[in-house]
Symmetry: C2
């Protein structure tokens, strides 16, 4: 997601200078070698890439996008406090907020504004980066307090300039909503695959329904273990409601209650039709 | 699925004459007006379409594909017995077999061989038909007994000629496997959507993960009520295993057991990677 943002910023001409740091050595090597437009040799995407972020020219930096897993962020914010200027804005792209916003705000004050772009897919790393990832995307910004620091509002304008829609909500609202729309679906897709028997007999028998339903079960297990645990209170609340629904459906199947079962399926379908999803790219 | 098969047969030149009957009046109107190649006016796809199937020239019919919901099939097989010749083969495309194969075999003997093409999507009707639906598809054939009647083997050859792979399994094996790979995922996607609160707040917050995970919750509720009830024994067994997995995961979330949780997610991911899915079209 960080690589895609770098590509989008370069593509739109919003990057005066772009610096890259951290990530896996392979990602950093790919990022350092990447050119814009890709492969024609005219210009590198990053003006400077360093394995050690301490080696970047911090006095020149106006915006830091920390595109790393949630577990790494608090420590990185602590480091950034030593390096960044008074006017530099810091953001992250984490899909769960938890204590993160409080810790970032405590360390960086009004220079910090946490973001969660509703984009993705199960592929990671710079090789999966694309300048189009954020087109028409919804970006959730989760301020740490009532007021958003004017410095951080530049971040909102930047996302809008990239063609995104922006919505503000509190970290708690974010985590409760995302437990429903992302974290519980991931847990269910993982649970479903884990519940299958380990025989070879089923492996040819998945159609397009199962293919799409279970795609997110190929997401990074370490990242998702962290996300689910960080948001476990909201996830467990949503899971509890779902388990009640499953108990109810199981009873209806046992009783052969076609009418009630049909009503629930029709309600579920109507609710799904009311969602607005990103187009398939 | 019936419309797509008609298109594929015409497209490959395997249809000497094609007759259509039944379906909704709108579908029948679309089918009767459809041309091949679509819209250039050279040839109709169907040589004859009739609302009442009794009006078709049954003496000429070599193959009957009954592409209607499972609940309608037993009655249709009973009617067909009055109309078809001794050499005419009958098949259906039902995604749950249950007592259907026994009833079809009792009524039609060796002329009947049930099929389940692992294709689909949540769109129905002739307007959604495409000649490419069955390319590279896996077709499950579920004979009613040990021996497949030589007449019915022509059906296997036809599917293979259309570019499909064919696998034989018993109706019970079929229903148990499909409970795992299709019926339970549908139940879960419906249950998930039904368990969400009915507020507007979540409707913008679904990303590509939820979009794909929940797509099958837009499937026809009446059809799926019927499928789930017809296969409820196998579905409830699979659901029971899943509920145990969810209970276990809930406990791990409560305890904060990152290591065990991570192992289960990694197992689920590995299992998903072993599946062979149809390509996204």
């Amino acid at each position: 997601m960080g690589g895609s943002l770098a590509l989008a910023l370069r593509h739109r001409g919003y990057a005066h200078r772009l610096f890259g740091a951290g990530g896996s050595p392979e990602d950093l090597r790919l990022a350092a070698a990447a050119e814009y437009p890709r492969g024609d040799g005219t210009a590198p995407i990053f003006d400077l890439c360093r394995e050690d972020p301490a080696e970047l020219p911090w006095a020149e930096v106006d915006l830091v996008v920390v595109a790393t897993p949630p577990a790494t962020l608090a420590e990185i914010f602590g480091q950034l406090r030593e390096w960044i200027s008074e006017t530099c804005v810091v953001t992250d792209l984490a899909s769960v907020k938890g204590d993160l916003v409080a810790s970032g705000t405590a360390l960086l004050g009004g220079r910090y504004l946490s973001a969660h772009p509703l984009v993705g897919g199960e592929r990671h790393g710079f090789a999966a980066a694309t300048a189009e990832l954020y087109v028409d995307a919804l970006i959730l910004l989760t301020p740490g307090g009532e007021e958003v620091d004017p410095r951080a509002l530049a971040l909102q304008q930047l996302w809008e300039a990239l063609g995104c829609r922006v919505r503000m909500l509190s970290p708690g609202e974010h985590d409760d909503a995302l437990a429903a729309t992302s974290h519980l679906p991931h847990l269910l897709a993982y649970a479903f695959m884990a519940s299958l028997d380990d025989s070879d007999a089923l492996r040819d028998l998945g159609g397009s329904g199962l293919r799409d339903f279970s795609r997110i079960a190929e997401s990074d297990p370490a990242l998702w273990t962290d996300i689910l645990l960080r948001n476990r209170e909201a996830v467990r609340r949503r899971l509890q409601t779902l388990r009640h629904t499953l108990d109810h459906l199981d009873g209806l199947l046992a009783q052969g209650s076609a009418a009630v079962l049909g009503d629930i399926l029709a309600t579920a379908r109507a609710r799904r039709q009311q969602f607005r999803f990103p187009p398939r790219t």
